[in-house]
Symmetry: C2
Subunit: 490 residues, 2 copies
């Protein structure tokens, strides 16, 4: 009898059948190469060696056997269709910057490397949208748009590609002002698990035409469909860029200023917060020309008309004084902008310089909470790490405008397990504060069990129901986001 | 054998079994009233008589047999669970302002009237969010928020309730500046078709935690789940409200101004466009104190700091002159704001006054196109209606900032079928212009076949796959958005 429930518990999941025998994979390669002219390699390091993130590729048995490099949506569909026919698992590769194990080929199978699908197809200037292939990077896209006075706001790690950014529903320092990927994708061309091609929408700015397939795919981490083309919104380039820095005696005062800016109606470009750990790392790294005072700080960005920027800066300056800031300064001088925002952008690399040994690891959270809870999250995070009594380096950097905080620790490799347990505690704290375990990095393999604590068994079971509805054989990036079978993959 | 495809064509849909015998419904009522203290009535007009829209309730056989009026999520879940057990179809009722047949109980069954679930549960001022039950209206919500200096932007028909607004993914005149419902819903508490309760997210502003159940439900028109609670974003109340009106010799010049405003980086509050038909209706209706020149016009709204508003107005004024506007004026005088925006808001009622006979009907489209195509859509719409040679009243009003245009016709009742065919032509034209058949009203019963032209058979089949995954018996608001069985319901 068919399951007539609305959810699918793990215990009721269908048995997964992957056919990854040498024979079946060779047959697949032969079939694909005889019907298409698609480049492929049996050396997975061809793409994975480009990956810069430690989490992105796991143990040796998690290696795909073949990597295909298609050039068109039709070619992707033909590969996926053949894999569906033969029960072969599919992972995909773009910029290789994802975290949390999103790229691990847990079941083996094949990988689709999107490296040849990196074109900007069409810019529609009057409509403020651009049609792109998945492997264009946001940095490259912005270099192109900049010449037209346009701008695509989501700004994760510099190597990230649009396809992966869609997969993870990512954001970055511009998200408070401009929103996340969800807010910048108009339409997607996708290939479903059986090779069916769907275009989720046309190009209007808004639509109420049926279920929102676009946003179902954004953030689905390659588990529901592969994205082969996207229509993205773009906006006009911010004018009169200014930066500001406010230094506070304690973190709560900084959060108070951020809350008051949000409620004021003034729309800044970015409101980033760093704790003393971050400042220590910056000063220690030598990556910034400036030495900063070791206190909690807000890094602010302003743009708009000259008058508007002047008003914003005056407002924030007065606010900082009223809230007991130790100092506030702002500038539109290009060198100052580069130094200050450069320091904020260098933070990730600066933290890595806090390793005492080259083998030390850097692990971090991605919690987001309602902004009123941000100071509590960060304060408690510091306390939770301190309680371990470990001599780890710890720091907190927050996208304060949207309550997203990364607690980072640098610790010896041997203490990785312990560090991850501590970070999980902080993520659970975020849940207690009505927040999320992941504001922008995604679930991957790492956060699946915490996801159950966030949306409940019923929520995860509803997600699993959707996964198996669109991918009944469980072939697309298996084991990510939700567990697929009781033979738990760890 | 299970269907291992990613989509579900109509021909492969399961057979629907509704058990609406008098006996089964009476048993249901008895079960629910014996285990809960839930008010119910067997007179469906108790709620439907409140409905103000002609499309919202269809033929007599499309009447639910019983209307339940629950007060809590748990009560809704108990009703839905009992209906699932007994194969009884469920429609729901909120403000009764939906269009396109969204409320028609095509299969009979029961209705859930949310009238007792109209509370504001909690305002989180510092987090700029508010927790509400589904039957609070956006007008009432804004009356409450206004006292706190806050504001909830989506502004459809005045009687609309939050639950229905979520169901339809609606918007209104504020959407260009603030986005649609999708942009203002943080999290939902939903009851799935088998009575399972899911909370889609906590309260952080952003999240990458698993599939986006929230946005899957927004715009799903009550077919995937019932919404029993919502966390909504709010923002600060616009300051220094000014309005402006620009009059153009032709429509294209007005669109050109709108495009240039969008690309300028200036963020106005609203950019609405009316053609000569609208102006004639306004003048004819006597609903506005002002008589307007019968030419295509932009109605503009500005807000922000005084300086900012002055800059915006200066920019638009110069732009209008450069683009050949016949006139432009702007004012922050409260009376002028009320007269001008009141005229824009009175437009719907003004058009109704163009009826030559009280029996005449008013029918309209809801197409949205990339803004560069807006003048073409409106111009061609006028031509398509003129071609009929009918002496119908026709007009076009557009949310120009996001390319959403409503072509309205007033015609004799007997010509309703013909009018609908003409409007369908305009909607198809919108598709040719890379647009959508519905920017903000939803699919309902009316637009199901055009939806196939918009997202293709594969897109609709993927949506049907999701429908049956979450609602395997097809009980929730059946026949809306996608067809459920080959015994086509018309």
């Amino acid at each position: 009898m068919a399951n007539l429930k609305s959810t699918l518990p793990l215990s009721a999941s269908p048995t997964l059948v992957f056919k990854h025998s040498k024979e079946n994979i060779e047959g697949l390669v032969q079939h694909i190469s005889s019907t298409n002219d698609i480049e492929y390699t049996q050396d997975p390091s061809s793409c994975f060696s480009k990956s810069k993130t430690s989490h992105s590729f796991a143990a040796p048995h998690e290696t795909p056997t073949v990597v295909f490099c298609p050039k068109t949506t039709a070619e992707v569909a033909s590969i996926v269709s053949a894999c569906h026919e033969r029960n072969v698992a599919i992972t995909s590769f773009g910029g290789g910057t994802s975290l949390g194990g999103a790229l691990a080929a847990t079941r083996g199978g094949i990988c689709i490397d999107f490296k040849y699908m990196d074109n900007i197809i069409k810019l529609n200037e009057d409509d403020l949208d651009v049609v792109v292939q998945p492997n264009i990077g946001w940095v490259e896209l912005n270099a192109f748009l900049d010449k037209k006075g346009l701008f695509f706001p989501p700004d994760p790690a510099p190597g990230a590609k649009i396809g992966g950014m869609i997969a993870m529903g990512c954001s970055g320092t511009n998200a408070y002002r401009y929103g996340t990927m969800k807010d910048w994708v108009i339409s997607l061309t996708i290939v479903l698990a059986d090779g069916t091609i769907v275009k989720t929408r046309n190009r209007p700015r808004k639509s109420s035409a049926g279920y929102d397939l676009t946003n179902l795919i954004v953030g689905s981490e390659g588990t529901l469909a592969l994205v082969t083309e996207a229509v993205l919104k773009v906006t006009s380039l911010p004018q009169n860029l200014h930066v500001g820095m406010a230094v506070f005696p304690d973190l709560q005062k900084g959060v108070d200023v951020a809350v008051k800016i949000l409620k004021s109606g003034h729309l800044l470009e970015a409101i980033e917060m760093t704790d003393t750990g971050c400042i220590r790392a910056l000063n220690h790294s030598g990556l910034s020309k400036q030495k900063f005072e070791v206190l909690p700080s807000l890094f602010l960005k302003f743009a708009g008309s000259k008058q508007n920027v002047a008003e914003q800066i005056q407002f924030v300056s007065q606010l900082c004084t009223a809230q007991g800031a130790k100092s506030f300064d702002a500038s539109g001088d290009k060198e100052r902008v580069d130094v200050l925002w450069g320091a904020r952008k260098a933070l990730g690399n600066a933290i890595v310089t806090m390793k005492k040994s080259p083998d030390d690891i850097f692990a971090h959270t991605d919690a987001a909470v309602p902004i009123s809870q941000l100071a509590k999250l960060v304060g408690e995070s510091e306390r939770i790490v301190a309680e371990t009594g470990k001599d780890w380096f710890v720091c907190n950097v927050a996208h304060a405008g949207d309550g997203n905080a990364h607690t980072g620790v640098v610790c010896p490799k041997e203490e990785k397990g312990e560090a991850e347990k501590i970070l999980a505690k902080i993520q659970k704290l975020a849940l207690e504060l009505d927040g999320t375990i992941t504001g922008e990095h995604g679930v991957g393999l790492k956060l699946r069990d915490l996801l159950t604590e966030e949306v409940g068994e019923a929520g995860v079971d509803a997600m699993r129901r959707i996964k198996f509805a669109l991918d009944p054989k469980g072939l697309l990036n298996p084991d990510k986001v939700v567990r697929l079978d009781v033979n738990i993959y760890e």
